[in-house]
């Protein structure tokens, strides 16, 4: 076992962290929430560093590198389509002609995380309103939908860019693959998304715990900092532990995917399930530690509280992740 990052990975993390600290403070996150949930300027700056494109894939250990960036984006609640564009571009380069893959660094690719049952079936897709296109599964066809202004925006409590996407509203539908291979390619893309979403959730959760710890050091009640009370401190210690565990699992799943180990898919599901649970629990404790202040819009912790739940449910009921894990580990159902 070796958990040390390469100097290139550490440098890139420093650069991305510095950029987000400067360009994506909580005030910016709030402003973007009120303005559609996508920060085009920030995405331009980030893609100029090459965070979701070919540069990463040409370097060693690309999957972990993207995971590290996803965690930092989570810490800063960066409203950018990092994960979607990365996994979407991988899929497109695998199944379609080069000419079809959006070329520009700042291109946006959206991914429908649930399949469409019919052409008029609507699925909520993040960033579809600003994307060059949306990939998804329609029946047993892997499709690429283009046209951006065609999907109704969905207001939501997370303040993210969400649209109701149905194939029939798209300006154009390109069928990339059909049949079993289409289903497999789509399933793998959703798995890749979950693997990276786990890292983003870990970042959201860890930053929330840090904010709560900072608050608990400064806020006094009954003559002492509230962080001195076990009832305040101990839930945060549990959260730090669970998030550290989920981070290790998400790293292991990236490692397994990079090495094309059989358990890579199972580990991705495990990472996403554990990160979703750890992060949503952590933001709940972190908000609670702030007392009444945590409920106000002025308090940054509420931003984390809303975003964690979004990431935990956008791919479906978290219980279904456990069902999928069980199917992969246990004997199959016996026909009665």
């Amino acid at each position: 076992m070796d958990l040390s990052l390469s100097s290139e990975q550490r440098d890139l993390c420093r650069v991305v962290g510095a950029l987000l600290t400067k360009a994506c403070p909580p005030s910016r996150v709030r402003a973007v929430e009120a303005d559609g949930g996508f920060d085009a300027d920030l995405w331009k700056s980030l893609s100029a560093i090459g965070v979701a494109g070919k540069d990463i894939d040409d370097a060693p250990d690309p999957l972990l590198t993207v995971a590290l960036i996803a965690e930092i984006c989570g810490r800063h609640l960066a409203p950018v389509p990092l994960i979607e564009t990365y996994v979407g571009r991988r899929l497109l380069s695998m199944v379609s002609a080069d000419s079809m893959v959006p070329r520009a660094d700042e291109a946006v690719i959206a991914v429908a995380l649930a399949p469409w049952h019919s052409r008029d079936h609507e699925v909520l897709v993040q960033y579809s309103g600003v994307a060059d296109g949306v990939v998804g599964l329609l029946g047993d066809e892997l499709v690429w939908l283009t046209g951006t202004d065609c999907y109704p925006a969905q207001r939501n409590f997370a303040g993210v860019a969400l649209n109701r996407v149905s194939p029939q509203r798209a300006t154009e539908i390109e069928v990339l693959q059909t049949g079993e291979s289409a289903r497999a390619a789509y399933a793998e893309t959703v798995t890749n998304w979950k693997r990276l979403a786990a890292s983003m959730l870990v970042g959201v959760g860890l930053r929330a715990v840090e904010l709560a710890a900072e608050f608990a050091k400064q806020r006094s009640a009954f003559g002492v900092p509230i962080g001195r009370f076990q009832a305040v401190a101990f839930p945060l210690a549990d959260d730090l532990t669970a998030l550290d565990g989920a981070r290790l699992l998400s790293w292991k799943s990236q490692w397994a995917a990079q090495k094309q180990i059989d358990s890579a898919g199972l580990l991705a599901l495990m990472a996403y399930a554990s990160a979703a649970e750890a992060a949503t629990t952590a933001v709940a404790h972190a908000l609670h530690a702030h007392g009444g202040q945590g409920l106000t819009e002025e308090c940054d912790i509420q931003l984390y509280h809303r975003r964690a739940k979004f990431l935990a449910v956008i791919a479906g009921d978290p219980k279904h992740q456990y069902a999928a894990i069980a199917d992969s580990l246990l004997p199959q159902f016996e026909a009665v």
């Binding site: 076992m1 070796d2 958990l3 040390s4 990052l5 390469s6 060693p60 250990d61 972990l64 715990v209 840090e210 710890a213 608990a216 050091k217 002492v224 900092p225 962080g227 001195r228 009370f229 076990q230 401190a233 101990f234 945060l236 210690a237 549990d238 730090l240 532990t241 669970a242 550290d244 565990g245 989920a246 290790l248 699992l249 790293w251 292991k252 490692w255 397994a256 580990l267 495990m270 399930a273 554990s274 219980k319 456990y322 069902a323 894990i325 069980a326 199917d327 580990l329 246990l330 004997p331 159902f333 016996e334 009665v336």
Partner: protein, 390 residues
């Protein structure tokens, strides 16, 4: 590039341990453990010694097998996964390392070879009826007398005391000292007159003891470290590698037992328990917990092996491992309904018994070796920078 595979030397050990267990973890050894709850079996410890696995990480010339840190973790995990009686050997490793590092020549020559040979074990005389996790509160007294020490007091939860050759004893040598000042560590031969061992039975069938010291006279040669320097000795022990254990092996045994039992038993409508979605979720959750426990454990080993701060990581491992083991043992016991109640026969074949026994056994894991509250306090203070919680 990061790497999650363990070193080959660790991976190869898995089959070696399995072969060893096939030969030496006999029905007789299991039955002895089931009957006594000793956590130790002399025949088994001598077999371990033949493999140099009593002090496995020690160099060969000191009686060890020179195992690396990950190989050691694999060895312990596989032995616990098979429910081998390992408590005696495992408990002895800490005092043995302290004697190796801080003990006199006399202690080193006298005790370490016996330990390595599987012929002697050491019990821990640390906690007391009124001390619990707060070791600085011990009141057992050691008074100097003509070059000897005379010990009076009581120790609690001294597992192995009825079979151990030595007791690693923390006693107060300066009577009016407070907290961690004025404590000294001794290696007390258990055959010294004046020691009385009283059995205590736990809910998991383990045998532990209360130990009474009544004018127990030991020579000064039994002392480890300086007079009144006991806290330094204790701190040294905390800094030793391998102190950050997890209950990974036991939790994996629970999981395998639960899967086997869920295939065997049905609900009132004749559906196999393993086909019910609620049960599949329970088993999936436990599998995720076990995977994370193992990763936290391995991370702690990796940090320590690379000279990095590993105390928070060790506390996270102990906390997460114990708390999820307790949660999963309870959930998987529920899954089996009344089937889980039958007394455990101590064999691998008794799948429901393994779950029931794990449930009983799990309750202690958040208590001994530092309670979950101690771990959370450490994580809050050193991991989150919070003030010391009370």
């Amino acid at each position: 590039m990061i790497e999650f595979s363990l070193p080959d030397s660790a991976i190869q050990l898995v089959s070696e341990v399995k072969d060893f267990l096939d030969e030496h973890l006999t029905p007789a050894v299991r039955e002895h453990e089931r009957r006594t709850g000793d956590g130790h079996n002399w025949e088994f410890s001598r077999a371990l010694a033949q493999k140099r696995w009593v002090l496995p990480t020690w160099p060969v010339e000191m009686g060890g097998a020179g195992l690396g840190d990950f190989a050691y973790a694999v060895l312990v995990q596989e032995l616990y996964r098979a429910e081998a009686p390992l408590v005696g050997v495992n408990t002895t490793q800490m005092p043995a390392a302290v004697i190796r590092d801080l003990g006199s020549d006399h202690l080193q020559r006298g005790i370490l070879p016996e330990i390595a040979a599987g012929e002697a074990i050491v019990c821990l005389g640390l906690t007391e009826p009124h001390a619990g996790s707060d070791l600085a509160a011990v009141t057992t007294r050691a008074r100097p007398d003509g070059g000897d020490w005379v010990i009076d007091g009581q120790k609690m939860f001294t597992t192995l005391a009825h079979i151990a050759q030595y007791c690693y004893l923390l006693a107060r040598t300066t009577p009016d000292s407070v907290r961690h000042n004025g404590l000294t560590v001794f290696m007390v031969p258990m055959d010294t007159p004046g020691i009385q061992v009283t059995p205590i039975r736990t809910v998991a069938g383990e045998r532990t003891n209360a130990v009474f010291f009544d004018a127990v006279r030991i020579p000064d040669e039994a002392r480890i470290g300086q007079v009144d320097g006991g806290w330094d000795v204790m701190r040294h022990a905390l800094g030793l590698e391998h102190q950050a254990g997890s209950f990974c092996g036991a939790a994996q045994r629970l999981w395998s037992g639960a899967v086997a039992a869920a295939q065997r038993y049905t609900d009132t409508e004749s559906r196999r328990l393993i086909d019910l979605p609620a049960n599949r979720e329970r088993l999936a959750r436990a599998a995720v917990h076990n995977e994370i426990t193992q990763l936290l454990h391995h991370r702690t080993i990796w940090l320590a092996a690379n000279g990095q701060e590993a105390h928070v990581a060790g506390a996270e491992t102990k906390l997460y491992s114990a708390e999820t083991f307790i949660e999963d043992a309870a959930a998987l016991a529920d899954m089996l309904g009344p089937n889980v109640l039958s007394a455990y026969d101590g064999t691998d074949a008794d799948a429901a018994g393994i779950v029931g026994h794990s449930y009983q056994y799990s309750a202690g894991t958040s208590i001994y070796g530092g309670t979950s509250e101690i771990m959370r306090g450490l994580i809050a203070e050193h991991g989150l920078g919070l003030p010391k919680a009370r």
